[in-house]
Subunit: 138 residues, 3 copies
């Protein structure tokens, strides 16, 4: 069994932002020389997500809107977590979007469906944050 580990770094310009990281994950797989296995991709921070969905701007607009309805940022005072912090909503938004994805690796490639793309979802940005890529296989 072989394994591979890499951290990807992000610094978003906005508080909330989505990054399509599919090419970076593909590149990790080619670096790993693993052709059959699993890749785990997870946010290393608890106010960010890694998830799979469509790379379509209308949908991304809908996601932002919808997450604000289910877990609104304002008023900050509605959350107990927001004593010294103001990011309680980001913890909740990431809970809905998920921390991680596990994707199959087949013949040295990400084994994705036709529209599946891997995203880093930042919900409390404007600072450096990390994604972990861990691959095991052969």
């Amino acid at each position: 069994m072989k394994s591979f580990r890499k951290e990807l770094w992000f610094e978003s310009a906005k508080r909330r932002q989505l990054f399509n990281i599919t090419p970076e994950i593909e590149y990790c797989i080619s670096e790993s020389k693993i052709s059959e296995g699993l890749v785990l991709v997870n946010a290393m921070h608890i106010t960010a997500s890694v998830f799979i969905n469509d790379d379509e701007s209308g949908l991304h607009y809908d996601l932002e809107n919808w997450l604000e309805k289910l877990a609104p940022e304002h008023p900050h005072s509605q959350y107990k977590h927001n004593g010294f912090e103001d990011n309680a909503d980001a913890h909740l938004k990431r809970t809905i979007m998920g921390r991680e994805v596990v994707v199959a690796i087949t013949k040295g490639r990400l084994d994705l469906g036709p529209w599946e793309q891997v995203f880093y979802g930042e919900f409390d940005g404007k600072r450096k944050k990390r994604v972990l890529v861990k691959i095991i296989g052969e």
Copy 2:
């Protein structure tokens, strides 16, 4: 390390429908000859889910109702994604239900708790769609 890959195909009669796919996953494990490892089961489409819950019709009714409250289908015009499409709600519903499950394989069987059953959740059906089963182990 051994690996195994199979696609399962579904075509739901209704827009939204749940399928208990536990027997199909068990069958994949026996085909794989892998007795200790992990199985990844994921929707290959971004308007469908694979999740684990109870096979109880009352609960399935509650899930349908609840998802319609959190991410209503109508009016289609409330979503930017619904220009040429009408399935934005299905992207959101699948986000809540999750894309994938990872299940342990122990002694050649799915290592599930007493009521755990694996489901394919279709939220934009009436066409052929796929689930990926990837197994690694020994």
Copy 3:
């Protein structure tokens, strides 16, 4: 490839309760003698979760509050599942919080970000329930 399996047992005093199980998972990894791989940690029951977030009491209060808004317990009669049972809300809460986490193992340790902690989330407690830890790697 090596594998390791262990069940962790919990009996919460309250219907809903969060347990930080990070030390128990670390201990499983040291028992497994696996230094590079993946650990799957999942609830074996469908009214409980395993998830990763911050060990901060304000946030835990916010999570309880927020889950009660998205999937209220009362009135029990609002759910079809609640014929002989009263725990439909626990199935929904666990759906939002997730069944499982997969975490990288690197150099014999959980490969977590600075604030990531692993929790068992009980939503229908006061009885004995289990978490499965399955590790594969080398």
